[in-house]
């Protein structure tokens, strides 16, 4: 009986070794497919990798790569609880209850996603005026709007009835030795005012 049990344990250990090694091979293959760029022949497995990696093994290692961002964003808002608009104020200042180094980091991340959306979906009418209708119906704008309203709530204890956002895009001048193209001019995007009955 004891010898059978010892034999059984050994067989189980061998089986575990084979199964777990196989699992690791599959796991790291899919990890590489998921994290590497879509290069042939890896993209054949991309769909499988996406299904496997999300939500339990999601990761990405383009850390400040391929280039460090050469622009940054500054989010401002103004609000109105009646007809009078407030002055424009920063929506990123980590003061009071939200005083934490991660607050401006979150604001920047949300704005990066909004900026990508702007580059895709901002259109212009015949007079050359900006048309934000596609942008303001996208989730990235809602996330920034929600962040601003909540940030206002933590600052003042209330939620405004009306709010308007504007985002400045500032480019970092490249050093003299840099081969990078000179950056475009800084821009400011002023979004339409929003009524906030239910936020």
């Amino acid at each position: 009986m004891i010898s059978w049990f010892i034999g059984y344990k050994r067989r189980l250990a061998r089986l575990t070794a084979v199964v777990f090694t196989g699992f690791l091979l599959v796991h790291f293959t899919l990890t590489l497919v998921y994290t590497l760029p879509d290069v042939y022949p890896l993209f054949v497995l991309k769909g499988t990798a996406n299904v496997y990696m999300r939500p339990l093994f999601h990761q990405g290692w383009e850390l400040f790569a391929p280039n460090v961002p050469q622009q940054q964003f500054a989010l401002e808002y103004r609000f109105a609880d009646g007809s009078e608009w407030s002055e424009w104020q920063s929506a990123e200042e980590a003061t009071g209850a939200i005083d934490h180094p991660r607050t401006p980091y979150v604001a920047q991340k949300l704005q990066i996603m909004l900026a990508r959306d702007l580059s895709r979906n901002l259109t212009y009418d015949e007079q050359g005026r900006e048309d934000y209708s596609l942008v303001v119906n996208d989730v990235h704008y809602y996330r920034v709007l929600y962040f601003t309203v909540q940030q206002h709530f933590w600052k003042y204890g209330t939620k405004p009835q009306r709010i308007q956002l504007r985002m400045h895009v500032q480019h970092t001048p490249a050093p003299e030795y840099s081969q990078l193209q000179s950056p475009p001019e800084d821009r400011t995007f002023t979004f339409p005012a929003e009524d906030l009955p239910d936020l």
């Binding site: 575990t16 777990f20 690791l24 290692w61 391929p66 460090v68 050469q70 209850a97 962040f147």
Partner: protein, 283 residues
Amino acid sequence: LNAIQHSIDRLAAPLVNTNRIWLFKKVAYLWMLLNALYYLPVAEVFFGSEKLMMPYAAQPGLLNNITHLLAMNPEFGRLVYFGYIGAAFFSLIGIGWRIPRLFVFILGWMLYYGSLPTFNSALLLYQVFAFFLIFMGNGNATGSNAVLTRLSFVACQIQFLIVYLLAGGYKLAGQTWIEGSSLHFALHLDHFVTTAMRDALIGFEWPLRVLTIVGMTYQLVFPFLIWFKKLKWPLFAIGILFHGFIMVAMRLPDFGLAMIFGYTLFFTETHSRNIRQRLTSIF
């Protein structure tokens, strides 16, 4: 076939590098605990029912619904946040077998998805560690337990090396790392760098260029050189300076500490034993 069978039997042999495994488990759960406590003063702002991040619905599927519980239901914020801290603490002191470790893994994802984009890649790395740590036994593990422990430890090593290799590889595809201007641009990112820090460092053009290229090269060569015993400590020293700089200058304490703690995966058994003896004599 004999060679394969021999390799499999070696995997099932009693553990030898038990101190390395012990040390890695401790620092991994210590990082998870510290990372969660970093948000303690603003826990309500980042994870509570009035958090800054907009709630959103999960994709269909059981796992998505579990991991996105906090994303969909902000009212669970306190439970998830303090549950994670408790689970990380119990895992750190080794109480509760594998149950707290399982909770660390699940609650970690709830926090991550529930407060997107609060956490950076450091949590993603430690979530992978948290998964493999569930399978890691103690020093006296035998049989299949020893197999799982040994392979899980190797999996954590591979995952750590993937981070460096890919982070370095992606940088090769750009311009700012090759020409050495990355730190110049990084110092202008206001959400990472304070004005005082930028003013103090921005004038050192050549040191910044050299540091940029050293940082990228370090990430590319680490996965290959770390296996040479004589190079381990020089690599750790450079890494501590590199990540220490990022921690202080760019105010990313979580990521820097995550990578420095991760070096314990490559400590020798002798060094791990010495550190373990010192730590156990203190606590």
